[in-house]
């Protein structure tokens, strides 16, 4: 069945067919832009920035440092992946960093006190869980209506789910003495981001 789309006059640069077609399929584009900005803020300001600090405090746990570094760089890749889509949809980032930070839908992953390995792993785990919830909300909103945003969100979600599994494994080992395998091995290179780096979608 055809979906009615508001016609965009030839040569009109004030409207985007790429936006009107998803609006016609039921996407609340203004709400989607707000959700993408909130998620971009969480990736950049709540995790990428603070993970930079967290990994510094994993002294004596060099393997954990590398895993935290993978998560940190992949969260930066998520930020890079999603920002162009915000502008494509007609949105823009706040031209003020504190305002941007305040839009984040997830709490800042600040260094815990005391900064023990268990406390740091707990912060990392709960940050990844919030990211999963945030990206699946975008997937739910766009599934079957906005394939481009859905594709980006689902690729990011893939990596967030892997990050959660990593930190469950490490926290269970450190805190509880239990083995709960993530099922994964190290990335090929730091922050490889097999799903979310544009030029690495195919990653044999």
């Amino acid at each position: 069945m055809a979906t009615a789309v508001t016609p965009v006059p030839a040569g009109d640069v004030t409207q985007r067919v790429g936006v009107e077609v998803i609006r016609a399929r039921g996407v609340d584009v203004d709400k989607l832009i707000k959700m993408l900005i909130a998620n971009a803020a969480a990736e950049f300001a709540s995790t990428y920035y603070y993970y930079t600090i967290l990994r510094m405090h994993l002294a004596g746990y060099e393997d954990y440092k590398e895993i935290a570094e993978d998560a940190r760089l992949e969260d930066r890749a998520h930020w890079e992946l999603i920002v162009p889509r915000i502008y494509e949809l007609g949105g823009e980032l706040p031209n003020d960093l504190p305002e941007f930070h305040n839009q984040a839908g997830c709490v800042a992953a600040k260094l815990p006190n005391p900064p023990t390995v268990v406390n740091i792993l707990t912060v990392l785990l709960e940050s990844e869980r919030c990211a999963i919830r945030s990206w699946i909300a975008i997937c739910d909103m766009t599934f079957g209506k906005d394939p481009r945003t859905y594709d980006l969100a689902s690729r990011i979600l893939n990596e967030e789910i892997e990050h959660e599994a990593w930190f469950i494994e490490l926290l269970a080992h450190e805190r509880d003495g239990k083995s709960i395998p993530s099922g994964h091995f190290r990335r090929g290179e730091p922050g490889e981001a097999p799903y979310s780096k544009n030029n690495r979608f195919y990653n044999p």
Binding site: K34, M35, A38, Q103, V107, R129, C130, S134
Partner: protein, 113 residues
């Protein structure tokens, strides 16, 4: 799960009134889910405001929320994902956009707005 430590929660939702019991140490959102009531939420940290409700009667413990301010309490808002009951409660759900407008009006963080 009704016992001496539990309180009766009445929710005024867009679909009508729903009630259940919630333990003193349980988050109201979780107890609602356990009773088959699907409420909105994303972060489950008390940050994003998606689960916001308006407290019509009773008192809650909101100390598990990472981002809940005196101004929110004064305006009667609660964040159900991280709120525990301190008494029997009556709450109007689905207040996220009203709470975000409130936050913006007073210049405080309003994620997703």
């Amino acid at each position: 799960m009704q016992n001496n430590e539990a309180h009766e929660i009445v929710l005024e939702t867009p679909e009508g009134e729903r009630s259940f019991y919630c333990d003193r140490n349980e988050f109201i959102w979780n107890a609602a889910a356990r009773n088959g009531i699907a409420l909105p939420a994303i972060c489950h940290q008390g940050r994003c405001l998606t689960c916001a409700g308006r407290l019509l009667d009773g008192t809650v413990d909101q100390t598990s929320s990472v981002s809940y301010f005196d101004e929110d309490k004064e305006a009667g808002f609660v964040l159900l994902c991280t709120a525990k009951p301190l008494s029997d409660l009556r709450i109007r759900t689905h207040e996220q956009w009203i709470m975000r407008r409130h936050r913006r009006k007073i210049g405080m963080p309003a994620p997703y707005s």
